[in-house]
Subunit: 306 residues, 2 copies
């Protein structure tokens, strides 16, 4: 009986957010924890139903599908009917966008580099604009993103999800650069606490950002979610207004909270780093909670075709 | 002319704090950055004048000197005259107290294990009292301090200055223990930001404490300076009241601020991690600033014999 009541409440709750989908023109997807769980030999494992969910969104969007198994005539017919736009918005900084997208394609996802908004290219623009020469504390595979920048005699520190590169030696080196600057500038590619890999939870860049903030008594400038400017540039790339877009992510603070602060609606998926206590988060309440991306896309698409 | 004026101000400022030494019965010394700079092959290098300064304090205190080159009859005569007590109060957690003191003795310091208040023994008492089984993220050389404790199936994390043990893997392991606990307890052996070794500044335990606090959304319990309870136990061991004791340290927040919060007076030495901007710290103002321990002890001893 209790279970039935709970199920009833869940359906009602689901119906509530679905009713508010009117006016949605764009869907923004987080990647890690929503499309796939990263880690392990192949670089990760798709979350069941997510490959198909991306396809389903494409069938309702203006995106040109590159995969042969999608029926193009159906796709174009549905685009005309809905005009839904799709964008991927990730804080992934363990590889260049190119490498990252290639991995996702290998896993079966229909996704292109220019559909992805990621922190490193955004940081590069900022560094160039402000004539900053970065000391990098990032994953080896991300270094090529910064190839065009002068890195001699650094006047700032850029920190990304460096994973095993977060050794005591490397963190100490970044600290010494920062503490030696008259005006210490710390740029962090995200402020996430942790993410889920196939073998468990892993500490994310935000944790080391906090460490350096405390060590040097500075406040980092965050590029990436939940920074407003980051969501805004993803929206601009989608060409939709915040109130016309819905974010789907597994991080209650950085995905859901960040998108909402920007005027978007946001759903939390119960995959990736999701934990049940997220639904009672003291500061952030998602517009809806769904079991996974497949369920979210099902509901959104159904609602659009009503 | 400017230099002369500055020198005049320095002398006046020095005289000010010296005048307020009436009633001092105990001197509490920080070790790293005050007695010596740690690191390098021999484990560190004494700060010029500090070995003699410790001796000089002993000549004015009730401590029995173990070194032959101290003139005992003079010492006892002066003890009767002053009754000054001496205690070492350190956040050192890279080795057991025994190993640490042995190193200081090798460097030439007249110091005994039972004169030293350190965080690890204090933490052990707390863990026992509360039936806590720690997961340790500490320096290998500190592990023996926790030999008597049950560490199977941990229900808390204890973090010390682990230096190179602060690898991504180890920090992630501690994080997973914490995030898996229903009631996550993080005990930190200090909250220092950094310290100075012979080859430069090094990140201290507080930085990694902040990292884990942020990752798990918890607040650490700090054992060690600047915790009030830690200073209080050092005062109890000295058998003097807070207002009768003066702390000498190189850390404006943890030594000076911590001691003052406890009702003690405190001097900052311009050695170790001292930086000129410390003298304009927004929250903490030392009762006096001195070039080094030798100068501090000179002034204290002179004042006592006036």
């Amino acid at each position: 009986m209790h279970q039935l009541q709970a199920a009833g409440r869940a359906v009602r709750a689901m119906a509530e957010w679905a009713k508010q989908l009117a006016g949605i023109k764009g869907v923004m997807l987080d990647i890690s924890g929503v499309l796939y769980d990263s880690g392990g030999e192949g670089g990760g494992v798709p979350i069941p139903g997510s490959i198909e969910a991306v396809e389903k969104t494409r069938l309702n969007c203006g995106c040109y599908s590159t995969h042969a198994h999608v029926d193009m005539s159906t796709a174009f017919a549905m685009i005309k009917a809905s005009g839904l736009k799709l964008r991927f918005c990730t804080n992934e900084t363990q590889a260049t966008r190119g490498k990252f997208v290639a991995k996702l394609q290998r896993l079966g996802f229909n996704i292109l580099v220019n559909e992805v908004t990621a922190p490193a290219p955004a940081a590069c623009r900022i560094l160039k604009e402000r004539n900053l020469r970065p000391h990098l504390l990032v994953h080896d595979d991300l270094v090529p993103e910064f190839d065009q920048l002068d890195k001699a005699n650094p006047n700032c520190v850029v920190i990304g999800d460096a994973a095993d590169n977060f050794s005591y030696k490397n963190l100490n080196e970044a600290f010494r650069v920062l503490i030696g600057l008259e005006n210490p500038i710390l740029i962090s590619l995200g402020r996430g606490r942790y993410y889920k890999e196939t073998d468990g939870l892993k500490l994310d860049v935000g944790v080391y950002m906090k460490a350096l903030e405390y060590a040097c008594d500075v406040q980092a400038e965050v590029v990436g979610k939940p920074a407003k400017m980051f969501f805004q540039s993803a929206l601009a790339e989608m060409e939709v207004e915040p109130q016309q877009a819905i974010m789907i992510g597994d991080d209650i603070v950085n995905d859901v909270g960040g998108a909402q602060q920007c005027g978007m609606r946001a759903l939390q998926v119960r995959t990736g780093k999701y934990r049940p206590c997220d639904e009672q988060h003291p500061e952030v309440k998602a517009d809806g909670y769904v079991n996974n991306l497949a369920e979210a896309v099902d509901i959104i698409v159904k609602q659009l075709h009503k």
